[in-house]
């Protein structure tokens, strides 16, 4: 890679061992992908749940954090994805003191590194959305696909070590979706059904993600009617990224880089059609039971509007099985202030903050609580939780709330 004078100085250790290690890591990744140089980034977003980190990852962070003050802090605003717990609700979840200890050590290390503990995967709704052509280094696949596609920003999937490295150096290797040519469509999808509910938007995204199937493929879509909102596109993108490892899509006439099809696509792309039947088939494929042990709204964290809708559905109900609603630390105080939390919790639900269900030792909390049959309106989560021993089922928010009250999914 071509390095600037400053980058050569970082590599030589003139700014200390922490940025030196970070840049060397980035050079290894950039060289693998043939990056010619680095591109400055303005924000970084770190995914670092402790189930993924393990003791080894936490020790690695603590070693960085032990460097001399003045040589260890991030250079740009660097924020965090959801943590692996809501400390106030850890006992309810059945998490152990060992899990919480790892969490606290991780937080302490990040704070020493200058990382801002936002603990959110909806930073584009709650912290600061990136702007068109803004180069960023984001973790969490749902954050990346939304930022690339809806905002027109430029990011690859940056796993925790690389996102932290970008925060520490203020740059990232210029490859993948930082390059204009990589952002052009590689396949065309004609969408013949415009969803209404969030679970359907997720199911549509998941269906298209299965078609895309590869990080380097970029779908361009036509046929969606009207103008979907932020929450709809949040579920659509998060599911597409989860099912397809997809980082960027274009919606002709809706997303910023695709005013016209010709802006992003050449003629003759491989063409696919997605119908209502396909979307329903994905949802039906997860209907393994009519009984549920737990209802979860998470992945992505709920916006204020989603919590408002959920609170409305919970009014006057009494739940027979646990209902968990997970949101960000930015949204939770508003939900408390506006009475949404009370409406949900008066019905027997629980509102959690700053975590994500599947990043919170999902396997262990299932065993601790006897949770196996799980209902959710998140297509992303049904895709993930099968690997954790759950039998996840996808349904509308309304049907999930009804299931929490009756223990049965209609």
């Amino acid at each position: 890679m071509n390095l600037t004078e400053e980058e050569r100085d970082i590599c030589a250790g003139k700014f200390g061992s922490v940025p030196q290690r970070a840049l060397k890591h980035q050079i290894a990744v950039g060289t693998f992908f043939g990056a010619r140089d680095f591109v400055p980034v303005t924000q970084a977003h770190i995914m670092a749940d402790t189930e993924s980190l393990g003791e080894a990852g936490v020790l690695w962070l603590e070693e960085l954090a032990a460097a001399t003050e003045g040589q260890r802090r991030v250079r740009i605003p660097t924020i965090t994805d959801p943590r692996g717990t809501d400390f106030a609700k850890a006992k309810f979840l059945g998490q152990t003191s060992a899990m919480l200890s790892l969490e606290q050590r991780t937080i302490d290390a990040f704070v020493k590194l200058g990382v801002v503990m936002t603990n959110t995967c909806i930073n584009y709704q709650t912290i600061q959305a990136p702007t068109r052509n803004e180069h960023v280094a984001y973790g969490d696949t749902g954050v990346v696909i939304y930022s690339n596609s809806i905002c027109g920003a430029r990011s690859n999937f940056e796993g925790g070590p690389s996102a932290l490295a970008a925060g520490l150096t203020g740059r990232t290797p210029r490859y993948g979706f930082h390059l204009p040519e990589q952002r052009r469509a590689t396949l065309y999808v004609r969408v013949e059904y415009t969803p209404e509910s969030l679970n359907e938007w997720g199911a549509l995204g998941g269906t298209i993600g299965r078609i895309v199937g590869n990080y380097w493929n970029v779908p361009v879509m036509e046929g969606i009617e009207g103008t979907p909102g932020s929450d709809q596109l949040k579920h659509f993108g998060a599911a597409m990224a989860s099912f397809g490892s997809t980082a960027l899509f274009h919606l002709v006439g809706l997303t910023p880089e695709a005013s016209r099809l010709a802006d992003v696509a050449k003629p003759g792309l491989p063409t696919f059609r997605v119908s209502r039947k396909d979307v329903q088939a994905l949802q039906d494929s997860y209907r393994s039971d009519d009984r549920v042990d737990v209802v979860v709204f998470s992945a992505p964290q709920l916006s204020l509007y989603e919590l408002r809708a959920l609170a409305e559905l919970c009014k006057g109900r009494q739940f027979a099985v646990p209902l968990l609603a997970v949101t960000s630390p930015q949204v939770k105080p508003d939900a408390d202030r506006l009475g949404y939390t009370k409406d949900i919790e008066d019905a027997g639900g629980t509102v959690l903050s700053g975590m994500c269900f599947y990043q919170s030792y999902a396997r262990e909390i299932a065993e601790a609580n006897g949770w196996k049959r799980l209902a959710t309106n998140s297509a992303k989560m049904v895709n993930i939780l099968g690997g954790y021993g759950y039998r996840p089922m996808l349904a509308s928010m309304e049907a999930c709330v009804d299931a929490a009250a009756s223990g049965r999914l209609a």
């Binding site: 890591h25 290894a28 990744v29 060289t31 693998f32 992908f33 043939g34 995914m47 670092a48 749940d49 189930e51 993924s52 980190l53 393990g54 003791e55 080894a56 990852g57 690695w60 973790g139 969490d140 696949t141 690859n156 999937f157 940056e158 796993g159 925790g160 070590p161 690389s162 993948g176 199937g213 590869n214 990080y215 380097w216 990224a241 989860s242 490892s245 990043q359 993930i384 099968g386 690997g387």
Partner: protein, 136 residues
């Protein structure tokens, strides 16, 4: 089998030799593995039940979310890790994870590498030369 050497467009790490565990399937450290037992655990994975410890994985593509970037490092700390990773195509997450865990990796071949390498073949991964070679 005529061809014994395969050129990779992307390469990282040191040269290693070992037994190839081959399947036309994806790879996610979070969703596909029992990382304590060291086996593929997702019921629908083509390698379910197979131990990946000290094997050279030859798979189609990287799947899943960003967790693998940390998980390879955690697996390496326990010595419960594949010897090397070989993919037809790879997303940035596994490359970032392999860089942190110091795992050799090759990706990007002219042929479907999962069809070219026999299951159980002895192979050499040579990232410096960008070559995957069947040695027996």
């Amino acid at each position: 089998m005529n061809k014994l050497k395969f050129i990779a467009r992307h390469a990282m790490g040191r040269t290693v030799r070992g037994t190839a565990l081959v399947a036309h399937d994806g790879f996610s450290a979070r969703y596909d593995l029992d990382r304590i037992a060291g086996i593929f655990s997702r019921p629908t994975h083509k390698l379910v039940g197979e131990s990946y410890l000290n094997k050279i994985l030859v798979l189609d593509t990287a799947k899943g979310g960003v967790a693998s970037a940390w998980m390879l490092h955690e697996m390496k700390s326990r010595g419960a890790v594949p010897l090397a990773l070989v993919f037809n195509s790879v997303n940035p997450i596994l490359v970032q994870g392999a860089a942190l865990a110091d795992l050799p990796m090759l990706a990007g071949f002219d042929e479907d590498i999962t069809k070219a390498i026999p299951f159980g073949a002895k192979v050499e991964v040579n990232p410096e030369m960008g070559i995957l070679e069947v040695i027996r």
